[in-house]
Symmetry: C2
Amino acid sequence: MAAGTRPRGAGRVQVLETARRLFTLHGVEGTSLQAIADLMGVSKAAVYYHFKTKDDLVRGVLEPIIAGIAELARVIGAQRGRNARLDAMLIGIVDLAVAHNDEFQVVMGDPYIGSVLQAEVDALGFAELAESLALTGTDPATMATRVALSVFVTGLRGPLTDPELLALGDAALREHLIESGRRLLGIRRRPHAL
Amino acid sequence: MAAGTRPRGAGRVQVLETARRLFTLHGVEGTSLQAIADLMGVSKAAVYYHFKTKDDLVRGVLEPIIAGIAELARVIGAQRGRNARLDAMLIGIVDLAVAHNDEFQVVMGDPYIGSVLQAEVDALGFAELAESLALTGTDPATMATRVALSVFVTGLRGPLTDPELLALGDAALREHLIESGRRLLGIRRRPHAL
DNA sequence: GTCTATAGATCGATAGAC
DNA sequence: GTCTATCGATCTATAGAC
């Protein structure tokens, strides 16, 4: 395996971590490969050794949270009852966002990723997920739930970028976010299956 | 004042509208002045006649909603009682977001605007606003409200970018968003002053 | 007020030495 | 695995003709 002496970090993982941080701060289009290389103290060509194109790098950065979302869809599908599924989705998405904060910011906030991740996003199974949550209708009650769910998922970005709220720590922030989601969606503490 | 025959729109207002649409779709960094000029059917230099730099153009696009936020801060300050102020803020921010949807997306979502609007954002009086809402403490109840408020303001972006929810129309969407905010913040329909 | 032309910088990406 | 050097494209911005 030839794991020789590596004087300073310039491996694949280091590139991913550096890119993730810069993407979060300045967006994908606002982050050049030169800036990534500079922050690592290596040359631009060294970055290209690990990733053939910038889009590949973007995909690499987003891979963990994409996988997490797919897994979440599976977990939710295993729940029985509409409220149990809603609550599982709520908790799962909060856990994902807290655990993969940086990637979550990029996925939810960057206007660029849509063009590079359209296929992956479509394959996440969100369409089937919405169906299993009975969120495909257009009656007023359903629309209210859809609006609330959209506000919640998008809104997670707020506290997760506010330094004063991040200072609460992951655990406390998680509780606050779940509580916010339950209020928004009108879910009781211990949901019963319908 | 010499309003001669203008064969096709290439005035200052048309530049602003075109830029606003492209900024919303592809972000500020993802929108070149060439793309704006192309969509208008004019040359790049024609755009530079109206705006000296790209940052000037960004500021021009964001000016209406920035003014709206400043005005909102004034309106909220005139309310008496904490719940009345919270409710006024909630309704005001929803009205602003619905009325200036495109600009709202750019302000809330684009990683670039922070660097160009830092001074303007600081001057919006949000710090004083938070104080007047008694949201400066760090006790659990205050933090819960701060998290909820952050989720709500950031979350408005969700429904306002979802075509299926936008199809509800401004009026219905407005009601849904206000209802969501009241649930999140635990505000009753007709708020009484404390 | 709009144009062509171009300067100067930076971008993504590649080639080839070590 | 990292480097220097470079290509071609694109970007912001300016100069000057009409």
